[in-house]
């Protein structure tokens, strides 16, 4: 573990958990302020404070000397202070996110989706937004090391020279390669060339969180290697089986956009999609569902059989058993679902979760085919240029390592010592390998066990390429030279193939030469770099014929062992994924969308299970399963299946860095290769300890007032037919408001406003990270979050409705500053630090703020954030590079809040003025709006009648939060609409999710 330097991210490294928070606070206060003797008067204190301040002035309060450091050779077209934008691609597993990255004088600072790239469509996700912080991670490894000793790249090249000769002699029989899955023409080409050079080498591809089961299922069903692409935008009836396509799936951006389009279409008069979710652990997809059925993961196969019996004529016998044998399931639910799916042939979509066994995926493929959805809502593609994940390849590599046949192991990224199945014991197998070379982002668990460690270049500093979903070819274009001399997997493989150190640029161009053709290669290549992808490179859809009898296979699955204790389910973390983002403070502090917990991953159980086990929130428990055990706290998540305990992967890393090491609990310790997704037979025992967890939701409490407006599609339609405003109801019928204040007219210039469509919002938190990245929002650490001092300007509130012990519904509501026209905060500020400007923005003048916090106290929406400490005081030099130069970095004692991205408004206004034109609708995009994968946020000029925000505000669903306070918020909401199946209105218990209000 790297030494903890106290001057480094003090607010984080020292704050998280370790009971030092008290000492920290005392140190943070100015001398004399926190150590006041008892009974001192305020006047005395002020004087002492004054003295200590002026003494401090002696010590070093001189104005720092600033130097102007211009370019020595100024590059063409860089104007200092004016950002430039580059298209690039972030590879993630086998996905590729097409991005536009903002660069300030050659330093990338902000990542956005590329509007013309099919994988992002201009939006992004939490991990895309946070990836820029990964570039400036202070704990990245800084040098090539050989057993901890600094070496140079040329040392490795030399060392590889002798190794390669040795391996060439036996055809590579003692050479092992371990990679993560990828989808990249260059990596695929190099892998093929490497195999040609060392025909006997052992190549393993392993992802801790993988879609291996789905690929295997599709192989079972169709007999070939195909991958699928889900088109939510074309689906009217969606069934998610233990799946979370809207959050943890790598393609969540596209899914969310398609799903939200279908919701929006319904609310504006078109066809609204209907989402059914069958799942044991509450997922974001389940939260969005119109009907959610609680069912353990182990029962899903049975459910599919029952559904298949209703959808398809029995194929080859076997699965023709009718439904009722799914325990605890009301047959009416599944009947209604089957009817709905059959009524929407070609417009239905069934998706199974990555956790589910291959047989379920094969059956789902067959059902989609049977319903005519293939080629419409679900498309299949060849897996080209890809390394597909295979846990068995890892197992055979580990077996060879243990047997001593592997002499050299090259780990091309990934962290197998941390995330390989516990039964394989990768670390001890690795100890038996004499020569190992591990590429890694930091000196992680694998790097400390490896002989050679090579710093891995971030995607923002390396050349590469990728195939996005559907086959679109994209180039990974660097924004900056490697900060720490890191190497990309392309360069490492290039060295192994050619024996020479070749730049990644040359290697990638070599791959693209045949793709683009010799003629005018440079011109076409530059076009690809400029656009971010190669237009027209999509793979042709394949329509696979079913070869097997998947539904019959399904019947042969071993019956679920329901009696054997709790079912344990392994979830990928919504923010850290498999742990690779553990050292990213933004993601660690990002509340989980469902539990609203930060900095931890407790075991999740339903309230009823907790009751039967005698545990409560924050109780310390021991989880025993398959001969392994794990101690961790427990957290109650309403809406989970009873008898299920969910463990979140990716936490509990020992060598993540100063942010991520020792945060949370390592669920990989109990995850075996036999059951990477879920398994029965877990036991939970309460221990005497308790463990404090930091959740943000209580702090965002709206005290029970109905703040989220919700209706059903039928209600909405009948109301709009009657010309009513649907958003009324709760407090619409009150007396007319009158104002005590002289009202402003706001009839000149631009008047900015925002709408947030709760019907489209999926609660994924992408907006929160985007805001954090754009606005230099600090990370405060677990202890401060526990005190309600988290700083995110935008929060996503989550509310449950219905029976907490049963199957409650969930709604999400993003809450930024409302920019009230009659802002309560402004009326109480003694120093006019928060005022209104002519454009209707409620602005903060940081320099005026003296930190009385009256404004926060008076804000009914609780959107103001206070710098209790100097959270950014000891920001290391590398993290200063990640800050947005256009936004003030606030100091201690200053209140801050959402500004409607005023720096973006001004930038666009200046640009328009220089170009001599008026601002157009859509020119200004706030960071949250731009990031939102569901396009739930509209922002624009309220005086522009044709603007999208004005049209959104004209929607009958439009309402203001806490309207009765007459604050006249500029940010308004569009009510959520659910689309329940009329056949299920009166289905009892778990079966229907609608509860009487």
């Amino acid at each position: 573990m790297p030494p903890v330097t106290p001057t480094y991210w003090r607010s984080l490294a020292q704050l998280e958990e370790r009971a030092e928070s008290r000492a920290f606070i005392e140190r943070e206060f100015p001398e004399g302020a926190s150590e006041l003797p008892e009974g001192i008067t305020r006047r005395d204190m002020m004087m002492l404070l004054g003295a200590s301040l002026s003494l401090a002035g002696l010590a070093g309060c001189r104005r720092p000397v600033e130097e102007i450091v211009p370019y020595v050779t100024a590059p063409e077209e860089i104007v200092p202070g004016i950002p430039r934008y580059y298209a690039t691609t972030m590879p993630f597993r086998r996905s590729a996110y097409g991005l536009i990255v903002e660069s300030h004088e050659g330093r990338p600072t902000k990542v956005e989706g590329n509007p013309s790239h099919p994988s992002t469509l201009g939006a992004s996700s939490t991990r895309v937004q946070a990836s820029v912080l990964g570039l400036y991670d202070p704990d990245r490894s800084q040098s090539i090391t050989l057993r901890g000793e600094r070496k140079s790249w040329s040392d490795l090249v030399t060392a590889w020279g002798s190794l390669s000769e040795a391996h060439a002699s036996d055809g590579g029989a003692s050479l092992g390669i371990l990679s993560e899955s990828f989808s990249s023409p260059t990596l695929a080409r190099l892998a093929t060339e490497l195999r040609a050079r060392y025909p006997k080498l052992q190549w393993a591809t392993y992802d801790a969180v993988s879609d291996e089961n789905r690929l295997a299922g599709l192989r079972q069903a169709t007999g070939r290697d195909v991958d699928l692409m889900l088109r939510f935008d074309r689906a009217s009836v969606i069934l998610a089986l233990d799946a979370d396509p809207l959050l943890t799936d790598p393609e969540m951006i596209r899914h969310a956009r398609g799903f939200a389009d279908g919701r929006r279409a319904g609310a504006t008069g078109g066809v609204m999609n209907r989402l059914y979710a069958v799942e044991g652990v509450y997922s974001l997809t389940g939260a969005m569902a119109d009907h959610r059925l609680r069912l353990e993961s182990r029962q899903i196969a049975l459910f599919v059989s029952a559904l298949a019996a209703r959808l398809a004529p029995p194929v080859g016998g076997g699965a023709s058993v009718p439904g009722p044998d799914v325990p605890g399931l009301d047959a009416r639910w599944i009947d209604a679902l089957a009817k709905d799916l059959l009524a929407n042939r070609g417009k239905g979509l069934i998706v199974a979760g990555e956790r589910q066994p291959p047989a379920v995926h094969a059956a789902v493929c067959a059902l989609n085919n049977h319903l005519g959805n293939t080629g419409k809502t679900v498309s299949y593609f060849e897996t080209k240029d890809a390394a597909l994940p295979s846990a068995s390849s890892l197992a055979s590599l580990v077996a060879a390592m243990k047997a001593g046949t592997i002499k050299t192991l090259v780990v091309l990224g990934g962290n197998p010592v941390f995330d390989a199945p516990a039964d394989l014991d990768f670390a001890s197998a690795m100890a038996k390998v004499p020569q190992s070379i591990a590429l890694g982002h930091s000196v992680d668990e694998t790097a400390v066990k490896a002989a050679w460690h090579v710093p891995l270049a971030h995607y923002l500093e390396s050349w590469g390429d990728a195939r996005a979903v559907g086959g679109t070819l994209s180039v990974v274009q660097p924004l900056i030279l490697p900060l720490f001399g890191g190497r990309s997997p392309v360069e490492m493989l290039g060295l192994m193939v050619g024996g020479q150190d070749r730049p990644g640029y040359d290697i990638v161009r070599e791959t693209w030469n045949p793709i683009l053709g010799e003629a005018e290669f440079d011109k076409k290549w530059n076009r690809v770099l400029h656009d971010g992808f190669l237009a027209g490179s999509e793979l042709p859809e394949v329509v696979p014929a079913l070869t097997g009898q998947p539904l019959a296979e399904l019947g042969r699955l071993p019956a679920a062992d329901a009696g054997g204790g709790l079912e344990v389910v392994f979830l990928p973390s919504s923010s850290l994924h498999d742990g690779r983002f553990a050292n990213d403070g933004w993601l660690q502090e990002l509340p989980d969308p469902l539990t609203k917990l930060t900095w931890d991953n407790p075991a999740l159980v339903s309230p009823k299970t907790a009751e039967s086990l005698g545990v409560a929130n924050e109780d310390w428990v021991r989880l025993e399963y398959a001969g392994r055990s794990l101690e961790l706290p427990v957290w109650l998540l309403p809406g989970m299946s009873d008898g299920v305990v969910a463990l979140t992967l990716g936490y509990g890393r020992s060598h993540a860095g100063r942010i991520g090491s020792g945060v949370g609990f390592d669920a990989f310790k109990v995850r075996s290769s036999s059951a990477p997704g879920f398994a029965s037979g877990a036991r939970l025992t309460r221990l005497a300890r308790r463990y404090a967890l930091s959740a943000t939701q209580e702090h965002g409490s709206m005290e029970g007032r109905p703040v989220v407006h919700e209706s059903t599609l039928t209600e909405l339609r009948s109301k709009s037919a009657a010309g009513e405003k649907s958003a009324e109801g709760a407090h619409g019928a009150g007396p007319p408001h009158f104002s005590l204040w002289k009202e402003h007219t706001y009839d000149k210039g631009h008047q900015w406003g925002m709408t947030i469509d709760l019907n489209a919002c999926i609660g994924c938190n992408a907006c929160m990270v985007a805001c954090q990245s754009e606005n230099n929002v600090p990370v405060v650490g677990k202890a401060q979050v526990a005190k309600g001092r988290e700083m995110q300007w935008l929060r996503v509130d989550r509310y449950f409705s219905g029976d907490p012990g049963g199957n409650p519904e969930m709604v999400f509501q993003p809450v930024p500053c409302m920019h009230c026209e009659d802002a309560p905060c402004e009326q109480v500020c003694p120093v006019a630090a928060t005022v209104h400007d002519g454009q209707g923005l409620n602005v903060m003048v940081y320099n005026r703020c003296i930190g009385t916090r009256y404004c926060s106290n008076n804000c009914p929406y609780k959107v103001r954030r206070f710098n209790f400490f100097n959270f950014t005081k000891d920001t290391p030099d590398i993290l200063k590079l990640a800050m947005n130069p256009d936004v003030t970095v606030r100091a201690r004692g200053v209140m801050e809040k959402c500004t409607y991205c005023t720096q973006r408004i001004n930038r666009v206004k200046i640009d328009a003025k220089l170009a001599g034109r008026e601002l157009r609708d859509g020119d200004v995009k706030t960071a949250c709006q731009q990031a939102c994968p569901a396009s739930a946020i509209e922002f624009g000029d309220l005086r522009d009648e044709s603007s999208r925000v004005v049209k959104a505000k004209a929607d009958p669903r439009n309402y203001s939060l806490l309207e009765e306070l007459n604050t006249k918020p500029r940010t308004t909401y569009l009510a959520k609409v659910r689309n329940p199946n009329p056949d299920l209105q009166h289905a009892p218990g778990d079966a229907g999710t609608r509860h009487p209000a």
């Binding site: 202070g81 430039r84 050659g106 660097p478 900056i480 800050m883 947005n884 970095v889 100091a891």
Partner: protein, 235 residues
Amino acid sequence: MKARTRLSVLALASAVAASGCVRGCTSSRPPIHLNPSMDNQPKVRPQTASLFFSDGASMRQPVPGTVPIGGLKEDTAFFTGKGADEQFVAAIPVPVDATVLERGRQRYVIYCQPCHDARGDGKGILFQRGNVPTASFHQERLLAYPDGQIFDVITNGQGLMAGYRWPIPPADRWAIVAYVRDLQQKRSASATGVAADTERASESERATRAVRGNGAPASERGGGSGGAKPPGKSQ
């Protein structure tokens, strides 16, 4: 209580005294700055130093080979002055009208005139004061340059002249080329007619310099201050 108050006042006073001079005396040290109030923020502003990078500069060069959005230079003639055959283009690849010429004149006055002088004789203020050898546009060699080559010289520099690719965007460079061509054309068109005038002007220049000792002739000053009358007409 009283004693503590006195003590505090004393501490305050001694602090001020010990911090050195209060007002009016010089110091090589930067001034005392008691309330930092976010004057220096942990972020990187343009043209600042950074301790992170070994060269001490926070501004980085773009990675070679990368193409920013809007930086696709497919029209090589426009961006490099060279055609597809790697030869300098003979004519300016953008239409030249009065607006372009006027823009070119403005840019010329800002960037070129200090050396090349308002008439393009290479006798600008730097030549006059520093004796920096500067080429005249009116020599045979430069008259024979294709337009693309002049653009290339502005872009990349030549001899002592630095490249101006950074401060002058390509369209403005072409505007300058157009203006330089205009200067040349006017000179050669009136070569016979105004030769004597030019000589007279040079004589009067020398005289002015001798008397006032500070270089720039009045006519060039007019041009230098961005004045309305184009230097070509002053002849």
